[in-house]
């Protein structure tokens, strides 16, 4: 580490000699007058510099401390052409969380339970229509004893322990569910499968064959694992085009999306406002409910 810093320092020395006026770094600017004269004791210089905190050593890719940074960079693309427009930064607690399979699993199960319709219904022997007359005498016929014709062992009888409408929903702490949302997005981000697009994603023609062209050109289609397109609002052309392009992917509005959708397909192409909406609505574990009295 120290040698690396020495190298960078000597490099900066070299550059200072070549362009001593153009440098913008405040550190080198304040050092510049000292360097212009010949120094009697050159060894004292590095020790002076090393007293200053140099954050660059944290940012080398191999350094484990690299993960400590508080924001991550995201490229914003223009939608159908996928031209990079600019970099934006997002909080690393939003898009750079570690993968927690357990939390994702719980969230997916929670959603699955919540989505269950739970309308299966059967009739018990008490609900089946008909007379409760005894079918045949108790004794003397040589056949089995039978009471009413609603008996579960008879055809047309009731169902003993059949399903009845119920709510399958399970509970999950909100903070955990919110963490799952951001973990899912972070997982996509880390795998390079989160593509953030500029607001106003739409395509020129409401044609499936045009959408196919776009997907094929960008390597989003069936061969590349299909893609989920998430928009902030309804986009007529895009939705009409992708309605029948199911084998290449699907399009959803942000209010229709859940964690499982984010995890399902090959990649997520998301409008920026949709991403912001998801992140702002799922940060209950980061933002305290009580407003600070400032």
């Amino acid at each position: 580490m120290a040698s690396k810093r020495m190298q960078s320092f000597s490099r900066s020395l070299k550059t200072l000699r070549t362009f001593n006026s153009t440098s913008k770094d405040p550190l080198t600017q304040c050092l510049a007058p000292g360097l212009s004269r010949s120094m009697a004791t050159e060894t004292s210089m590095p020790s002076q510099v090393s007293r200053e905190y140099d954050p660059t050593f944290l940012q080398t890719a191999t350094d484990p401390a690299f993960e400590l940074q508080d924001s991550v960079l995201t490229t914003i693309y223009k939608f159908p052409t996928m031209e990079p427009l600019r970099f934006e930064s997002y909080a690393s607690k939003h898009l750079h969380l570690p993968l927690r399979r357990d939390i994702l699993h719980r969230a997916v199960i929670f959603e699955g339970d919540f989505t269950r319709q739970g309308t299966a219904s059967t009739k018990t022997r008490w609900e089946i229509h008909g007379s409760h007359r005894k079918i045949r005498p108790q004794k003397g016929t040589g056949m089995a004893r039978l009471g009413t014709r609603q008996s579960p062992m008879l055809k047309g009888g009731g169902k003993s322990f059949g399903p009845h409408p119920r709510d399958f929903a399970t509970a999950l702490p909100k903070k955990m569910y919110d963490l799952a949302w951001r973990t899912a997005l972070s997982w996509r981000y880390r795998r390079g499968e989160l593509i953030v697009c500029e607001d106003g994603m739409d395509i020129e023609h409401p044609k499936t064959r045009f959408a196919r062209q776009i997907f094929e050109h960008n390597h989003w289609g069936r061969e590349d694992g299909r893609s989920l397109v998430i928009t902030g609002s309804f986009k007529k052309n895009l939705f009409r085009a992708l309605r029948h392009a199911g084998e290449d992917g699907r399009v959803q509005m942000v209010k229709e999306v859940d964690v499982k959708d984010l995890l399902e397909l090959g990649r997520v192409i998301i409008e920026k406002r949709a991403l912001d909406e998801i992140l702002s609505q799922h940060q209950s574990d980061l933002v305290s409910k009580v407003r600070s009295a400032v």
Partner: protein, 420 residues
């Protein structure tokens, strides 16, 4: 078939009298009328029996000729059905004639070979290609990235090098580096440009073959060709124009020289690619293009990999240009940790992760070199072992001789444990 009764018409009186001669004379006139209107034979058939109908007779007498002018049927033309039927008959006859004509010259069938595959055969019928032929050519999608992705790692490295040269050239001139992709990439001029890192960025050492002015010229979009400009052309155009005017003190008279050069070539209005192509023929660059990309990459001072990407503007421009040149989308997770060019390149030239275990194992040199280790894509079955020693054919032959199943145990009552 029984005909529907209709009300008597005045013309029926005429017809009745005409037809009354043939049936039996013992009927009264009213009965005769009824009988004729209920006759089972068709009127037309009766008419065509060689007899001239009474109305025709009257017409002939009026006109005084055998063939009076006017329609045969004064009450209307022939029905649509009759007309189409007649037309169909004519067409059918024509078709038959055509077929006969076609059949007449007997083709030389000695060289005819029936196709065994449908490749190259003419496809007939179907409506499936309408959209493909009529809609698609006018509605082609053009993305920012090229459709074909560069896969050769040396070529990708060269593209990254080019992107860096171009970005720093723009920076050196004072133009905003985000305009890097304003022009469609033409011929690579930056093969011989050496880059060396400095604290603030990099210095470029241009060769005689590619000067700074030429590189900048290749990056500015052709003014006449608006289609080459991708996004907000007016703004960037203005910027470029403004910048160019301010550049001049730094590089005196260079834009004028460039303009003159293109004027001499005589095609300033043509698209960027054409200009680039012309330049490649004129320039002595052709010698370096014969170099392979591997040699090219080796010819650069490796210190260019140490260029810092700390400046987000520079980083963005380099990433954008590299994506445009290679067709590879660089994901954010790879862009973010790349602090130097080396980090970016490490992502770009990384071989893809093998999808199958066999591929992963076969890439391992140390495994492949061990003499007693061999790697198979599928499970090695007893049959494979027999095959490897050349015994399987014999076993197969013996089994078929005895009428036993070669593989599996079809027709046998037990899989194993059958000791009969």
């Amino acid at each position: 078939m029984r005909r529907i009764t209709r009300l008597g018409r005045s013309i029926d009186l005429l017809r009745a009298r005409a037809a009354a001669q043939t049936p039996s004379p013992y009927l009264c006139s009213a009965c005769q009328l009824q009988a004729t209107s209920f006759s089972t034979t068709s009127i037309r058939a009766a008419r065509n029996n060689g007899k001239v109908p009474f109305t025709e007779k009257i017409r002939q007498r009026i006109w005084g000729t055998d063939k009076p002018p006017g329609l045969e049927d004064p009450y209307g033309d022939r029905s649509v059905f009759d007309r189409t039927k007649k037309r169909a008959k004519v067409e059918e006859a024509e078709e038959r004639e055509d077929q006969l004509e076609e059949a007449k010259p007997t083709p030389d069938l000695s060289t005819y070979e029936p196709a065994s595959t449908w490749d190259g055969l003419e496809k007939v019928g179907g409506f499936g290609n309408w959209w493909k032929e009529n809609w698609d050519p006018d509605h082609q999608f053009r993305g920012f990235l090229p459709a074909e992705v560069i896969k050769d790692s040396d070529e990708v490295t060269a593209a990254l090098h080019r992107a860096i040269v171009e970005v720093f050239a723009l920076q050196q001139v004072g133009m905003p580096p985000k305009d890097i992709s304003a022009a469609i990439p033409g011929v690579d001029l930056t093969h011989e440009v050496q880059i060396s890192p400095t604290a603030t960025g990099a210095t470029l050492q241009f060769s005689q073959k590619a000067s700074l002015e030429q590189v900048i010229q290749s990056l500015t979009p052709a003014v006449d060709d608006e289609t080459t400009v991708k996004e907000n052309p007016t703004e960037s155009e203005e910027d470029v124009a403004a910048d160019r005017s301010t550049i001049d003190p730094l590089h005196p008279s260079s834009p004028e020289v460039e303009v003159d050069e293109t004027a001499e070539k005589g095609n300033p209005t043509e698209s960027e690619e054409d200009v680039a192509a012309d330049r490649s023929t004129v320039d002595p660059l052709s010698g370096s293009t014969q170099m392979t990309y591997g040699e090219l990459v080796a010819s650069w001072d490796p210190s260019w990999l140490q260029i810092s990407l700390e400046n987000p503007e520079i980083k963005f421009a380099i990433v954008k240009r590299t994506m445009q040149l290679t067709g590879l989308r660089i994901p954010d997770a790879a862009i973010m940790p790349a602090k130097t060019v080396k980090g970016l390149l490490a992502h770009l030239v990384k071989p893809p992760k093998p999808r199958k275990l066999v591929d992963a194992l076969q890439q391992k040199e140390e495994l492949m070199n061990i003499p007693n280790v061999s790697i198979y894509a599928k499970r090695v079955t007893p049959i494979d072992k027999h095959k490897s020693v050349g015994r399987w054919k014999v076993i197969e032959q013996r089994l078929t001789e005895r009428g036993l199943p070669v593989t599996g145990h079809e027709g046998q009552s037990h899989a194993y444990g059958d000791y009969r």
